[in-house]
């Protein structure tokens, strides 16, 4: 990497979810992603951009080599994703609490236009501190947006500030169909992503570990926004291999 930027631990907590979503579930690919007839994925927690870029590259939206310039001056790939630069990115996110209401609009728009497709959106648990998330939760349930699946990356990153208590119970109380999975178990993730309710939006609370796969990063706040040093990098790559 040519930069010292990036929320690596936040990306590792959602990498399994995105991998399963793009490998086995979502109906979007480099050929159809400009057409109306596609599924949408919106990364509401934009600071997980590294995971999204890696999965999109793997699915052929752009060559993986382009990612080496991540966050450098004229790179297409920033610390938060830009939908006007990166093929496959549906929304420019980064400020929390925007992606879910935007996804609610896409889901409603699809229903009005009679496009029988699905919208997936991933929010962070800390993002659930934002009021606009709960405005959107009310709206999606009220309008019975059964074509919407929201995944909550429950990595407990904000428990130190504002705890969320019974998170799945909160979404259920707002009128959503809720399920909880181990966010690093591919089979559980796949099964949940393929579920839907006939008349309710679907939420998947994914229990995840921030920095999953790398022992020194796991649940270590020091890694929220930093890059490995020259000395750390080979050890981390060996652990991930």
């Amino acid at each position: 990497m040519a930069t010292k930027e990036g929320h690596i631990a936040s990306a590792f907590s959602i990498l399994d979810i995105l991998w399963v979503l793009y490998s086995d579930v979502i109906g979007v690919n480099p050929q159809n992603f400009r057409s109306d007839d596609r599924d949408y994925f919106i990364l509401s927690k934009g600071h997980g951009s590294l995971a999204l870029y890696a999965v999109l590259a793997e699915r052929g939206f752009f060559p993986p080599s382009e990612l080496e310039r991540f966050s450098t001056f004229q790179s297409k790939f920033g610390g938060h994703p830009d939908c006007n630069k990166v093929p496959g990115v549906e929304a420019s996110t980064g400020s929390l609490g925007h992606g879910l209401p935007l996804a609610v609009g896409v889901a409603l728009g699809m229903r009005i236009r009679e496009i029988n497709r699905r919208v997936y959106v991933l929010v962070g648990d800390a993002e659930c501190n934002e009021g606009s998330i709960w405005e959107s939760a009310l709206l999606a349930a009220h309008h019975k947006l059964a074509n919407l699946t929201c995944i909550v990356d429950h990595n407990h990153s904000t428990d130190r500030a504002l705890g969320l208590g019974n998170l799945a119970g909160k979404w259920e109380a707002f009128g959503w169909a809720a399920t909880t999975v181990d966010g690093h178990d591919h089979r559980q993730i796949r099964d949940a992503l393929k579920q839907s309710s006939p008349d309710r939006p679907m939420v998947i609370v994914a229990e995840t570990i921030k920095g999953f796969g790398c022992k020194q990063m796991e649940n270590n706040p020091a890694w929220h926004h930093r890059s490995p040093t020259r000395e750390e990098l080979p050890l981390i790559l060996e652990e991930l291999a």
Binding site: D36, L102, V104, G105, I112, R113, E135
Partner: protein, 275 residues
């Protein structure tokens, strides 16, 4: 697609009957409503978001910035209430700062009509274009509808001593104030993009008076940019930069801050009389 923030719902009762899939009373959640409008735009629908100005602009400023302007999505925000139409409700319901904040957003279009007829013309011209567009409506209306054109100022009168810019609702007071003065009157109903050409071609006196229905001086940077290397002295008349904590009626506020024919005339004659 019309999304209402639980404002003006009764006025749209016929639309709810005729087009139930194209109009929604979203409720009192303006932030989500704004982002949701952007999501509708992503699917190819043209959203029109409506509430009173402080709630649909200032409360949702970041949603407008990120979800419409940065994403480059089209859409329309139509406010009502202007600077202090709801005077009796107090400062929470005033919005003299809407245009000032929105003009910081790259790509944002801002329209300030003076009458329902002008709004009709301007809305039809701009609502389906690729940019987010803000329409600032008022409970009050000017007596006469002009043949306005989106993005262009109207030249209502030509004179030599100064150029007076009247924005939307202040036009009747400006016309009454300067009718016998030797000044040019330019009527602006689109303020972003700002029609700099018309101003530059009508700056004979080197003195410009900017009369605005929102915070005084909001458009000064646009005037500077339009003039380029040409020079002019600029006087600004509008809403003063403080909270207007009195109640009553909008006309009483006009009177108190000098946004009346007499108040504007005095400011202009003093300014033009100065060498």
């Amino acid at each position: 697609m019309v999304l209402l923030g639980d404002i003006s719902v009764f006025g749209f009762r016929n639309a709810f009957q005729l087009h139930p899939k194209r109009i929604y009373n979203i409720g009192i959640c303006e932030q989500a409503m704004t982002s949701m409008g952007a999501g509708l735009a992503k699917t190819g629908l043209i959203p029109v978001l409506h509430s009173i100005a402080p709630f649909v602009v200032e409360r949702c400023f970041e949603q407008i910035k990120v979800d419409f302007c940065y994403q480059k999505l089209p859409g329309n925000i139509v406010s009502v209430g202007a600077s202090y139409d709801y005077a009796a409700l107090g400062c929470t319901h005033h919005c003299p700062g809407d245009v000032a904040v929105l003009r910081t957003l790259p790509g944002m279009e801002i329209v300030v009509p003076g009458t329902p007829g002008e709004f009709d013309r301007l809305f039809r011209a701009a609502y389906a274009n690729p940019h987010p567009t803000y329409f600032r409506l008022s409970e009050r209306s000017n007596p006469q509808t002009h043949e306005v054109e989106f993005g262009r100022a109207n030249i209502l009168k030509q004179g030599k001593k100064a150029t007076v810019i009247a924005v939307g609702p202040v036009l009747p007071a400006v016309l009454a104030a300067v009718q016998d003065l030797d000044v040019t009157i330019l009527y602006y109903t689109t303020v972003a993009p700002f029609d700099g050409d018309t101003l530059k071609q009508n700056n004979q006196g080197g003195k410009i008076v900017l009369v605005e229905p929102f915070y005084a001086g909001t458009l000064v940077a646009d005037i500077h940019e339009a003039l380029g290397t040409a020079s002019a002295a600029i006087e600004t008349i509008g809403v003063p930069h403080r909270f207007l904590t009195d109640y009553g009626h909008a006309e009483e506020h006009d009177e108190a801050i000098g946004l009346t024919p007499a108040g504007i005339r005095k400011r202009i004659t003093d300014f033009v009389g100065r060498s």
